[in-house]
Symmetry: C2
Subunit: 363 residues, 2 copies
Amino acid sequence: MPTVQVPLGNRSYEIQVGNRLIASLGERCRRLKIGTRCAVITDANVGAKYGEAAVKSLKIAGFTPTLITLDAGENTKSLATVQKCYDLLAAHRIERKSFIVALGGGVIGDLAGFVAATYLRGIAFVQVPTTLLAQVDSSVGGKVGVNLKAGKNLVGAFHQPRLVLCDLDTLSTLPDREYRSGLGEVVKYGIIHDASLFQKLEKQMDAVLSRQAATMSAIVARCCAIKAEIVAKDETDNGPRALLNFGHTIGHAIENSIGYGKLLHGEAIAIGHVAAAHLSARRLGLGAEDVGRIRTVLQRSGLPVTLKMPGDKRDRLFAAMRLDKKVQAGEIHFVLAEAIGRTVFGQRVPDAEVNWALDQIKE
Amino acid sequence: MPTVQVPLGNRSYEIQVGNRLIASLGERCRRLKIGTRCAVITDANVGAKYGEAAVKSLKIAGFTPTLITLDAGENTKSLATVQKCYDLLAAHRIERKSFIVALGGGVIGDLAGFVAATYLRGIAFVQVPTTLLAQVDSSVGGKVGVNLKAGKNLVGAFHQPRLVLCDLDTLSTLPDREYRSGLGEVVKYGIIHDASLFQKLEKQMDAVLSRQAATMSAIVARCCAIKAEIVAKDETDNGPRALLNFGHTIGHAIENSIGYGKLLHGEAIAIGHVAAAHLSARRLGLGAEDVGRIRTVLQRSGLPVTLKMPGDKRDRLFAAMRLDKKVQAGEIHFVLAEAIGRTVFGQRVPDAEVNWALDQIKE
């Protein structure tokens, strides 16, 4: 079974990638030497499939779990849900040595992680990501948080999990669109850091799309390893961690300006990847052929690469970019690629060129 | 002007103790090399006295402040108020390099600090404590948070300020009862760590009660120095920082069980100090004379040392102690004194002896 170490001093932890991991959740938690009481936070969809198995495994291992089941969907990632979780944790007598298991996709991981980061000033938590997107991205690295009306992830913390279990069996039950959304982040790792991963995606896309177990085990582990390497260099996001935001400056703005839920995260950033590729060509000399390869691999993943963009939507896109957390002194910063597998962050781009890039992704 | 260093690596900061500090707030913030936009969070009482001066000083120094004025009182320390602050920060376009000034007592410092700890996953903040309690205790050390219905400070974070300004002029406008409440924490520093500070309080109580400037400057600085020394050893409260909770196990339970606001924090912990002193005598051989000295110095500070305690209130006291964050595996832990100036933490006390200690503080 592939395992990936995230080396962060006394906050180091392991990512385990394999099959049937939820059935052994309790046993794996016992090795962490944490308290007996715990809470499994999940949503209605994931809970129906895996909630009982997770709770059963924890009980067999000697833990006293309570199951907290939230509504599925991005609207759950709110301060109102956080408050609800706090009250349930207090009712279940969760103590400082207790822990939280986040069982679900990115929404549950981010929310439950934020609850763990702040309840009693921080208790332990274990990530059990059940979507491809969460397995390769949001469950690793300790960024947790919730949304405000003014924008996504505007509230949060850095709080590393004690363990991440990527159970590949959960991928088999993912709806097709959600699985493909995860590929938007997988492609990103190829672009930012690993030309051979990118080539592998080009060559083995059929195996990827059919969710072939050995292929996906290696790919999930490789993506986690890249993320771990970058996070280890810059845990609190003051430098190279920005590389993980390739495609996200425009991708987040798309999500914000058209409203959450119309496009999935991976779909929005796929469009963002294409825009960033064009900007990379114009500003850093990324080859036209490589721009085409990025567009093609995303299309073959079943992801959108263009966006309908009437004038008022373009205005809202710009406004959303200006509220991005990475804005400094009012200037929009981009991550851009010099080549596939090699990227640089902190690239200021004039508004006129941002506009030009939007033309390139206009449907 | 006394200054105290809090040595915490790249989170180190300075506590400045002196007069007319609010008037130079902007200038002092400028030395921190932080962003231009900022928010001053205060309450209606403190804001009326010092809000304008703080904002003016920041503007003169080139900052762009917005003033957020909240209701005064413990009820403000809630997640609902946190949500309100987030929305106002977003509206004011607070960015990652922006900062928050907490201008007020412990409620404002804890709340504004928690907002700073979590907005955009953490931005800088400056503490300007305006009560004696906040100056000697809550503004130093990075513990920030809010209350839940289930208990005080159940939600929070560790987030160190970049600077603490203890403006002694603010003490002169404090209501007498609130000033005396702060003395409950001042006495604590003598008990836990500094027999000569304790003697000084015994000898100079008249100067303390008349808020004599030179006396209070030295005392505030000494209390901050003791707290800084303890926090530097154990920032995230896994060991010796527990010493700061002398008197707090019972004190917090009193606050919880009789409802916030009926007793001030310093009043509740004064009663807790007496109970802990009695337990210290019984379990660690603290001399009967020293128990008497502790009771006497608290009484001379104008603080209560006994509590009315009908049967049902005693039951609620016990229940509240069991929800304390320091409960481990269901056992109540105390900080106890071997002598005035020398304390140990993590002392398990059987329920029967806790009951006996409650008899000692029964009115």
